[in-house]
Subunit: 280 residues, 2 copies
Amino acid sequence: MSPEARDVLAGNAAGAANQQRANHRLRLAVIDRDPGFMQVLSNRLDALGWDLRGLSSAVTVDALVAMRLNALVIDLAVLGPGSWEYLERVCGRLPGLAVIVCTGPSSVAQRVRGLRLGADAWMTKPCHAEELICVIEAAIRRHRRNEMPQIEESTSVGQITIRPDLYQAYAGGASLELTAREFEILHLLSQSDRVLRREEIYERVWGYAMAHGDRSVDVFVRKLRQKLRAASPEWNYIHTHFGVGYRFAPERDGGEATPDATEDARSGARESEFAPALVG
Amino acid sequence: MSPEARDVLAGNAAGAANQQRANHRLRLAVIDRDPGFMQVLSNRLDALGWDLRGLSSAVTVDALVAMRLNALVIDLAVLGPGSWEYLERVCGRLPGLAVIVCTGPSSVAQRVRGLRLGADAWMTKPCHAEELICVIEAAIRRHRRNEMPQIEESTSVGQITIRPDLYQAYAGGASLELTAREFEILHLLSQSDRVLRREEIYERVWGYAMAHGDRSVDVFVRKLRQKLRAASPEWNYIHTHFGVGYRFAPERDGGEATPDATEDARSGARESEFAPALVG
DNA sequence: TTGCGTGTGAAGATCCTGTGACCGGGCCGC
DNA sequence: GCGGCCCGGTCACAGGATCTTCACACGCAA
């Protein structure tokens, strides 16, 4: 299974309803100059699939905004005298950003000051990478929980428009009348260009492993094709790969597939993959 | 509105904005048996005007819910063997509660475990009361940050007017006579164009996680529909998305038999160029 | 051609939601 | 203090909508 698939699976429980959110990689920046520390952290975060950016000195707040971070780890020692002001500015300007101070020995007063200025947590170095990651996760978790639900971008492929916010797909203004499960499968398929095996589809939509010989996915694909054909007769959306699975790709019917044309048709709002987490 | 109605709102998204503005005291519970620790903390929190409740042993999750806490501090040592399960249960059931573990010396693995189970922070005793308070504040701050910007303006949708300042909705000058909960749900729904899952609604109105199989949301939606229909019979406001949840969108009743023709007839609505689906 | 994987239609089984009735607790007036 | 009312919350039932399963037809590869 792809790492991406694993991400989506994490924490699904009640089905794919809330899976979209966990979809994209977490973006983290660390302002620190300790190569060993960075190395350890980097290894660990790589394994987790995070997107780590190491910074050896303070960057402007605007630059931080541009990075669309989920979290920021700061070693105040690196910043020198202006560190408190910097911390305050960052926290004030990016209230949605999880800020963790991770620095050498400090006094209670310093830690209190840092937290009061808006830091979410204070770790004292040396510290275990795993623990730091947990603290970061906790901060992000807390931030996310209270965020307004992400606005899911609608995407257009071929002649249809998929609207996750309405749990529905449309063609020419008319609803396809998909059921919840049908929509989830269509949505899943439409987010990937590659062939998805049945087991994969099942796991990601149903939330648990597919029983051997289960034909549910086939049946739903049939229903989907039916509704897609009814709403958009000129196009083929779901392709069967014999012995493998299904692949989503809008293609005009009739003549053989014209890759050029289809590529263009897919240009919709695809870039929503990297929907930002913060950025107020 | 009854004074009790206000209380009910504590710790939920829509109502919380009110709360903070009204400068409500923060409610904190501490599960700990160290009298000295409690004394120091108590003194400090008194000065800050917090509402502190000391507990010498674990209480049921339901009891915690009833306390309407903003934060909970736990000394795992007090709980004994079942402490991890307890922590997990509390964090799972009360996702909006700030949970801080404050206990004696521990291993990295223990801290990691606690944080992974949902704790927001881990403090090691002995610790300075001031620092603990800052950590609690940081956790609560994160919890609330996004609730503040709520604008309590009255909005009109379809034939009804929602007035958050009066905790009531009106149609043609007449009150709908909504109860506090009913209003909460209507207000929440009306602020979003997308489909809201029951769990989401529950969590944001009740302030804690919905128990599996709880039908409260459905029941309140029924009551709401009843009152909405009585006050504005020509319109449909709350739409059911089977297997997903509810969506708010004012729509005229009646002549929507022909989806094609109705496309233009959607006058009063404020959004969605798309036809509605799955109207309950 | 055989063997297996896939498309298709339909019939239950299952799940989901609407609904009315009911219950307990808090609040108010008496 | 007492009784009634209002409100939030639970329960069980009924009707639909949806899902799963099954049998069979069809197509692909060897």
